[in-house]
């Protein structure tokens, strides 16, 4: 397993948001964590990337315990988090944003990785000198993912990559995630978009009020009557 989480608990002050999570992501897998707003998805991502301290539990990445590691050490290890809301640097050019993606990791291959990302996202090349804050939502999401790719991730966490995008862009985003994964990159996909996430994921976890209410192969989940009723309204 690339990522293994055991009995993870975390929260803000006295409020416990994550109430004991167990999950794992294997090599080459897309694993989806699905759930509505406010169930703890973003909290989970923040804990995984070390921005928010956990209260108890264990996180193993590539066989190493990273539960108490600092965010920069976690980036060093290759666990790269593309956050909800993109969090790109609006006051800097597209190119500078990408270059900062390799601030700690992948610095040696900065030039060739930049070229590869420009090939994946021709729009970013066209706008490489433009301020990132002037990009459209879809382009900003591409930039955020591109910035993550610059660090040569060993696992990519994508938090709500389809949020706020047009239906056409959403299709494109999911196709892209599939392509990145086809190249061997394991992905933890955290989404509200249940239908499309289940289509590309191999396994899925449903997060409800800080615990995994359901888990299993994505193919089975798609047929699960309760899930269809609650999340798809069918």
């Amino acid at each position: 397993m690339v990522l293994e989480i055991k009995d993870l608990r975390a929260g803000y002050g006295p409020v416990e948001v994550l109430r004991g999570l167990d999950m794992a992501v294997g090599a080459g897998e897309i694993v989806a964590v699905l759930g509505a707003n406010g169930v703890g998805k973003t909290t989970l991502n923040k804990v995984l990337s070390g921005v928010l301290p956990l209260t108890s539990g264990s996180i193993r990445f590539d066989g190493r315990e990273i539960a108490r590691a600092a965010p920069d050490a976690i980036v060093d290890a290759g666990l790269i988090h593309v956050p909800e809301g993109r969090k790109i640097f609006p006051n800097m050019s597209v190119r500078e944003n990408l270059e900062l993606g390799s601030y700690r990791r992948g610095k040696a291959n900065r030039r060739s990785n930049l070229e590869r990302i420009f090939e994946t996202f021709p729009r970013l090349r066209e706008r490489s000198r433009q301020f990132a804050g002037t990009l459209s939502g879809g382009e900003q999401q591409m930039l955020a993912i591109g910035r993550g790719m610059m660090a040569e991730p060993r696992l990519l966490i994508l938090d709500e990559p389809s949020l706020g995008l047009s239906p056409l862009m959403v299709e494109e985003m999911f196709a892209l995630i599939r392509r990145l994964n086809a190249a061997g990159l394991p992905i933890l996909l955290v989404e509200q978009n249940v239908v499309q996430s289940l289509e590309i994921a191999s396994r899925a976890f449903i997060l409800e009020n800080g615990i995994f209410a359901m888990r299993g192969a994505a193919a089975d989940m798609r047929e699960n009557p309760e899930l269809r009723r609650v999340y798809l309204g069918l």
């Binding site: 921005v51 965010p71 969090k87 601030y103």
Partner: protein, 290 residues
């Protein structure tokens, strides 16, 4: 009216003293732009640097201009430590705490200097202050000309650092998007401290440029910081270009004001323009619109 040569000379002299103002303002605006705090200890730190220049000269015979590089490095390290181990940890992530900590720091520093050096006003006592160059019809003060050159070079170096190095980019990244910066592996605590250190290094350089023509006492820094605040607001809070242009502008206004209203009222013009700018364009000349 005055003869054009006299006005021209006043403008040139104003530009030259403005460059040093700009240097003081650069440190202030950089710290504000990145840490989002107004550093109330800026004036006291400038005074510290000026005493350091004086001390190096009196005890070790080091020329203020030779002190620029070593003192800039020492003050960078001092500023780094101050932010990393005192201001940062004591603020617990709350901006208003930081404000009070820097205010407290300025009181402590000022009184330490009062205790150590008494309230006497001192100067290098060298005759460099009267060293002038003839440039056509104009008389240019040599220390001020050097100050102008060094201040502009420092600003250029700072600009290069911010735009062309990873550390500089990290500084700009943290200024606008802290979480995003952390997720690419930037440690904001380190970057905050580097930024504060750069601000202090700017003060050390300014002190080296000031002392050949200026005096020092335990409160002298405040006079400069008052002008620097004006420049920072004038140029737009957090804007490097704004601090530079604002500094030069304020220098010229002060100099022309001194010419027209008499030397002691020279600063009146600065604050009149300051109030005007606040009324007409509160975000400053280079500031982003809210």
């Amino acid at each position: 009216m005055y003869a054009p040569e006299i006005v021209a000379e006043a403008v040139v002299n104003g530009l030259m003293s403005g460059a040093t103002y700009a240097l003081v303002a650069l440190g202030l605006t950089l710290v504000y732009g990145v840490l989002h705090i107004v550093n109330f200890a800026h004036g006291a730190l400038l005074t510290c640097a000026m005493f350091a220049v004086l001390g190096l000269n009196l005890w070790l015979g080091i020329d203020p201009y030779w002190a620029i590089l070593p003192l800039a490095l020492i003050f960078f390290a001092f500023g780094y430590g101050l932010q990393r181990f005192i201001i940062g940890p004591s603020s617990h992530g709350e901006d208003r705490n930081t404000l009070l900590v820097t205010l407290g720091l300025s009181i402590v520093l000022e009184n330490l200097m009062l205790a150590a050096f008494k309230s006497d006003t001192r100067s290098l006592g060298a005759d460099t202050a009267f060293d002038v160059l003839e440039l056509g019809p104009m008389l240019i003060s040599r220390p001020r000309l050097i100050g102008f050159g060094v201040a502009l070079a420092t600003a250029a170096l700072l600009w290069l650092l911010l735009s062309a190095t990873d550390t500089g980019r990290a500084i700009r990244a943290v200024a606008k998007e802290k979480l995003g910066a952390q997720l690419v592996g930037i440690d904001p605590r380190h970057i905050f401290a580097v930024t504060f250190g750069i601000g202090c290094a700017c003060l050390a350089i300014a002190a080296c440029l000031l002392l050949p023509t200026f005096y020092v006492n335990p409160r002298v820094g405040n006079a400069f910081v008052l002008v620097a605040f004006t420049i920072v607001v004038l140029g737009g809070m957090g804007s490097i270009a704004g601090a530079l242009v604002g500094g030069l502008f304020v220098g010229v206004v002060e100099s022309l004001g001194g010419l027209l209203l008499g030397e002691s009222l020279g600063q009146l013009g600065i604050f009149l323009i300051f109030i005007l700018v606040l009324l007409v364009r509160p975000t400053g000349l280079f500031g982003a619109r809210a």
